[in-house]
């Protein structure tokens, strides 16, 4: 008989392999509103980013060694291959984000290299799906085969000795960081704010250290105001509350969004959630997370600034009022060329970028006020909805889903196990 405490047989006999199958069912992120996020938010901003920054960077950098001759051959515009758009993503099992990015960047021919985190990898059913999806996505002539989906949780990035951090270093720094979280950065009693926040902090620090040009950050998170964890929200709001005290402009702006009294600024009392309705809680969270990022920026050297780009909210489970919040941010380095004050030089160097934290924070509040509701947009614009339904169907078809079954599912009200 085997001695139960013996570990001698460990690591000798392999685990029995688990088999894969290829049935696919529809999940919340297959809904048409997610296609809106992909197309109208992520990809739109990425395209704008590539046109504005990447191409310019390129001309300065010249050819990069990552491109092999083959890749040059495959793509007419060698210039894009020479400098891949580097993305950090949490791509899900079908890698829909990169698929759609690839589709939408057809015109600008940008070449993509990505590092993904998906803990579901491995030899199980989900793992096989990811492998096949990764193979398919990287067969696209504009996606680098040097891309990788790592079998780790993104949260592990928080630890500098983690495998996740090692690979972030190896593949980074990134032009685009797209954190499409399945759970929540919004502070809830059952949530995981702390580990995500730590990872966000570590990642931002890495990016600010390594990047010399602007970069984009997308955060998609659940927001369940009914379950808010007041004390965590209060901690997250600290930079916001401090800002209210020092800037009347900011204080005025935020009072438009939430009743200022609820913030309890200047006292030791925490944010009073009972005074806030659900939308206000979500808005406050939006400001707080943006302001926290801005604080990272203003305390770093060299300095950075961050602004919120067009962001959205949509419901995923109406009865419980759980929403998804898709936030977009752009980070830019604060630059200042040397200035001549003798008047001897007639050279016109660009003027330094201005940096005023309160002003930026005020803009942030305005951006949060502009967060739009995708459900309302789609309801008001049937033509847009049809267009997005079609493109979502095409996207899913490329990931092996049945197009017609999908269209029927949309028609039937997009029912998922999660509601």
């Amino acid at each position: 008989m085997t001695d139960k405490s013996s570990d001698l047989s460990d690591d000798i006999v392999p685990e029995a392999p688990r088999h894969s199958s290829f049935d696919r069912k529809f999940e919340p992120w297959h809904k048409v509103r997610k296609e809106f996020v992909r197309k109208e938010q992520w990809n739109k901003f990425v395209i704008r980013y590539v046109k504005r920054h990447l191409k310019r960077e390129l001309q300065a950098e010249g050819v990069n060694e990552w491109s092999t001759d083959d890749e040059m051959l495959d793509i007419p515009e060698t210039i894009s291959v020479a400098y891949p758009l580097k993305c950090l993503v949490i791509p899900g099992d079908d890698i829909l984000d990169i698929r759609s990015l690839c589709r939408d960047t057809e015109n600008i021919k940008c070449y993509i290299r990505y590092l993904g985190f998906n803990e579901g990898q491995g030899s199980d059913r989900v793992g096989t799906r990811v492998h096949i999806a990764h193979n398919e996505v990287t067969s696209h002539p504009r996606v680098s085969t040097h891309s990788l989906v790592l079998c780790d949780r993104f949260q592990m990035v928080a630890k500098p000795n983690s495998q996740a951090y090692r690979y972030m270093k190896e593949f980074g720094p990134f032009h685009v960081v797209n954190l499409d979280l399945c759970d929540s950065l919004f502070p809830t009693t059952s949530g995981d704010l702390e580990s995500y926040y730590n990872a966000l902090y570590r990642m931002s620090a890495f990016q600010m250290k390594e990047m010399a040009t602007p970069w984009l950050l997308f955060i998609t998170t659940q927001a369940a105001p009914k379950e808010v964890d007041a004390s965590q929200l209060d901690m997250l709001c600290k930079p916001t509350k401090d800002n209210v005290l020092i800037s009347t402009e900011f204080a005025a702006a935020i009072s438009d969004l939430v009743p200022t009294a609820a913030l309890n600024t200047g006292t030791s009392a925490p944010v009073d959630c009972s005074q806030l309705n659900e939308r206000q809680l979500i808005d406050l969270f939006g400001v707080a997370i943006g302001k926290a990022l801005l604080k990272f920026c203003s305390t770093a050297t060299p300095k950075w600034k961050v602004g919120m780009l067009g962001s959205h909210i949509y419901s995923i489970y109406e009865p419980l009022n759980v929403s998804m919040l898709s936030l977009a941010f752009k980070f830019s380095p604060v630059t200042a060329p040397p200035q001549d004050s003798t008047g001897l030089s007639s050279i016109d160097l660009p003027t330094p970028t201005s940096f005023n934290e309160s002003e930026l924070a005020t803009k942030l509040v305005a951006a949060v006020r502009n967060i739009s509701n995708i459900d309302e947009i789609l309801a008001a614009d049937p033509e847009l909805k049809t267009r997005l339904t079609e493109s979502s169907a095409d996207l899913l078809k490329s990931a092996g889903y049945d197009r017609n079954v999908y269209l029927q599912w949309v028609k039937d009200g997009e029912q998922t196990s999660l509601g």
């Binding site: 088999h19 049935d23 990069n64 092999t68 083959d70 398919e136 696209h140 592990m156 092996g400």
Partner: protein
């Protein structure tokens, strides 16, 4: 009645049926035993087989991706012609029976229509046994093949598990047994033009993971430091890092690599090779790859040697003519003599002798990237390190040969044999793993250099350690390769022929090397005077010649007060020692007699050092240790003298 559908047709239908097709892996017990129980020595061997398959499939680029240092998964991906459902069915049902080089190969369109020994694009095929793919059994019992052919709207996926099913009876070795199963289906592909094959190895076996992450070495360090607080074993100079055994998410040791994350793929490997070679400067002068690189980096290195890749710098036949290398043409005779090859300005040995290797199709390209590092053959022919050897320039011996075995029966001779070769002599071969001869058939090779030079019996240990040689076989020898592709059937006439040719070439090299050395020494000797010195010198020369060494190093003892350091002088190729490191304190007043005695001591010490060097005994020691050893021996010699 309709004909029942073939498995391949069923595979094509899976997009409609939604049900994968199951094909049992059937093979003979004998072959199964060979592939699962390790005919392959190292992880590099199994990877080499997959890379060879990509080469045979006309791939231009192979990308290997691991999750180092965790090593749970490895993906080997190529952009070759892909595997059709028909071919997939064939290869699974015919393990151990390759379709390459047969009529089936042409029918399945995996070989050239003109010559079945060549790929469609005209590469000389490496595979022929039909078991290479299953060498992955070395890594795992579970892998995926994801493959796509150009022009098809689908990719085919095979989910393969290896292992005997439990209900199979143990039977005699030639009976077919079920040794696993492949579940195969297709999925639609959006990029019709894409082509290629990915073999994704899942759930790597603990043994393989341990090997890849150098577990044994790290464990030894752990164990020794637990025992005595410090460890004899040290971490390799370069390594890929180490996972925390207690925590699957974290690294216990961060990677220590000679390159920077910002370096491009080519630069990375170049930095590895340069850094490894540069380590020779510090210790005794040689570099043992095994001691300076972990298993992961050694795997990269070994693949770089074995796979059909370009040389990092020049192909040996394309070394530019300069005054740093002397070229010789080898004669194809048992007692042959090399001829110095006068290469015209702007020409190369290739042009002078019309050398063809590697016989690749025009403009062919084959690249291998492993975790973002593009590897190439790390054999370097220029910029050799400075050494103490009298001959300061490397010698390159080049030869080519075609033997028809005209008067012999082809069934007995194995048909014609044709090859080209070089033997590169340099005082220091870096790393030591490059000492020996490597056989390449077509453009591929087994993993390692044969340090015995195919059983060369003549004791010329020092000189043999100074030679890197490669034989590029263009025609023949195929029949002599064993299943593991690393060893040969020694009895095969082609192998026998190569042995004779190589041993003759070694003799030609040796003679030439001796002659050049003598010339240099004679010149030097003319300048020296004292009788004793001459006598001792003669003795040393003779003693070393007796054991086959004819290169006597120059030795100098320098005053400790001298500004020039030992290593400065060593850099000029002279073995230098500080006087105070070898001789007892001699700072007192010097009488005439003591001065003379000192000179004798110095000559004896010189002789000792020359002998020790000649035997290669000092190569692995640091300068300090070398001095200590000479000092200690000298002391004992002088004791007997009654001094």
């Amino acid at each position: 009645m309709t004909k029942p559908k073939s498995k391949a047709e069923q595979i094509r239908d899976t997009s409609k049926t939604g049900k994968p097709v199951n094909i049992p892996l059937r093979t003979s017990q004998k072959i199964l035993a060979r592939i699962t129980d390790g005919i392959y020595r190292q992880p590099a061997s199994a990877l080499r087989e997959l890379i060879s398959n990509a080469y045979d499939a006309d791939a231009r680029k192979v990308t290997i991706t691991t999750d180092a240092p965790r090593f749970a998964e490895i993906s080997v991906r190529d952009d070759g012609i892909g595997i059709s459902p028909e071919m997939l069915q064939y290869l699974i049902e015919n393990i151990g029976g390759s379709a390459k080089r047969t009529g089936r190969g042409e029918e399945l369109r995996i070989t050239s229509s003109a010559d079945k020994d060549f790929s469609p694009k005209g590469r000389k095929l490496i595979g022929k046994m039909g078991i290479g793919l299953f060498a992955v059994a070395q890594f795992t019992r579970h892998f995926l093949i994801i493959t796509k052919c150009k022009g098809e709207g689908f990719r085919t996926i095979a989910d393969v598990t290896l292992g005997k099913s439990d209900d199979t009876e143990q039977t005699s070795s030639d009976v077919e047994i079920t040794s696993g199963e492949a579940r195969i289906w297709i999925e639609s592909a959006s990029n019709i033009n894409a082509q290629g094959t990915e073999v994704k190895l899942l759930d790597l076996l603990p043994r393989t993971r341990a090997e890849l992450c150098s577990l044994e070495h790290w464990s030894r360090i752990d164990f020794e430091s637990e025992e005595d607080g410090k460890s004899q074993a040290v971490p390799p100079v370069f390594h890929i890092g180490r996972m925390d055994p207690e925590n699957a998410d974290q690294l216990l040791e961060q990677p220590k690599l000679p390159w920077d994350t910002k370096d491009g793929p080519k630069m990375r490997f170049e930095k590895l090779v340069t850094s490894v070679r540069a380590l020779a400067g510090t210790a005794g002068g040689l570099v043992d790859l095994d001691a300076v690189c972990d298993n992961y980096l050694q795997t990269l290195w070994n693949l770089a040697l074995a796979c059909p890749l370009d040389y990092m710098g020049h192909h040996p036949f394309d070394i530019p003519k300069d005054n740093k290398t002397l070229f010789f043409d080898l004669e194809n005779k048992t007692r042959g003599q090399s001829v110095e090859l006068k290469i015209a300005k702007g020409k190369t040995a290739r042009e002078e002798l019309d050398l063809q290797s590697p016989w690749a199709p025009k403009k062919d390209k084959f690249e291998l990237l492993i975790d973002g590092t593009q590897i190439s053959r790390p054999i370097v022919f220029i910029d050799q390190p400075k050494t103490v050897n009298a001959i300061k320039t490397p010698l390159l011996f080049v030869g080519k040969c075609r033997e028809e075995f005209d008067d012999k029966l082809p069934s007995l001779s194995g048909g014609p044999l044709e090859f080209e070769a070089y033997l590169f002599w340099t005082p220091k071969v870096l790393p030591t793993q490059h000492q020996g001869v490597m056989l390449r058939v077509g453009n591929a090779a087994g993993a390692i250099f044969d340090r015995t030079f195919m059983g060369y019996q003549i004791s010329e240990q020092t000189r043999l350690r100074q030679i890197t040689a490669e034989i590029f076989v263009h025609e023949g020898l195929d029949g002599a390769i064993n299943l593991d592709r690393e060893t040969y059937n020694f009895a095969h006439p082609h192998y026998q022929f190569l042995v004779k040719w190589l041993h003759s070439a070694l003799r030609q090299l040796s003679n030439r090397n001796k002659a050049i050395g003598k010339e240099i020494r004679d010149k030097k000797r003319g300048d020296e005077s004292t009788k004793v010195r001459k006598r001792i010198e003669r003795v040393v020369t003779k003693k070393l010649a007796d054991v086959g060494v004819d290169d006597v190093v120059e030795v100098q003892f320098i005053e400790p007060t001298l500004f020039e350091s030992v290593s400065d002088i060593r850099d000029e190729g002279i073995v230098a020692f500080r006087k105070d490191a070898v001789f007892r304190d001699n700072s007192g007043r010097k009488t005439g007699a003591s001065k003379q005695r000192e000179e004798v001591y110095e000559q004896k010490a010189t002789a000792l050092a020359q002998l020790l060097y000649g035997w290669g005994l000092l190569d692995d020691l640091s300068y300090d240790d070398q001095a200590t050893l000479v000092r200690d021996i000298l002391e004992i010699v002088l004791l007997e003298d009654g001094t």
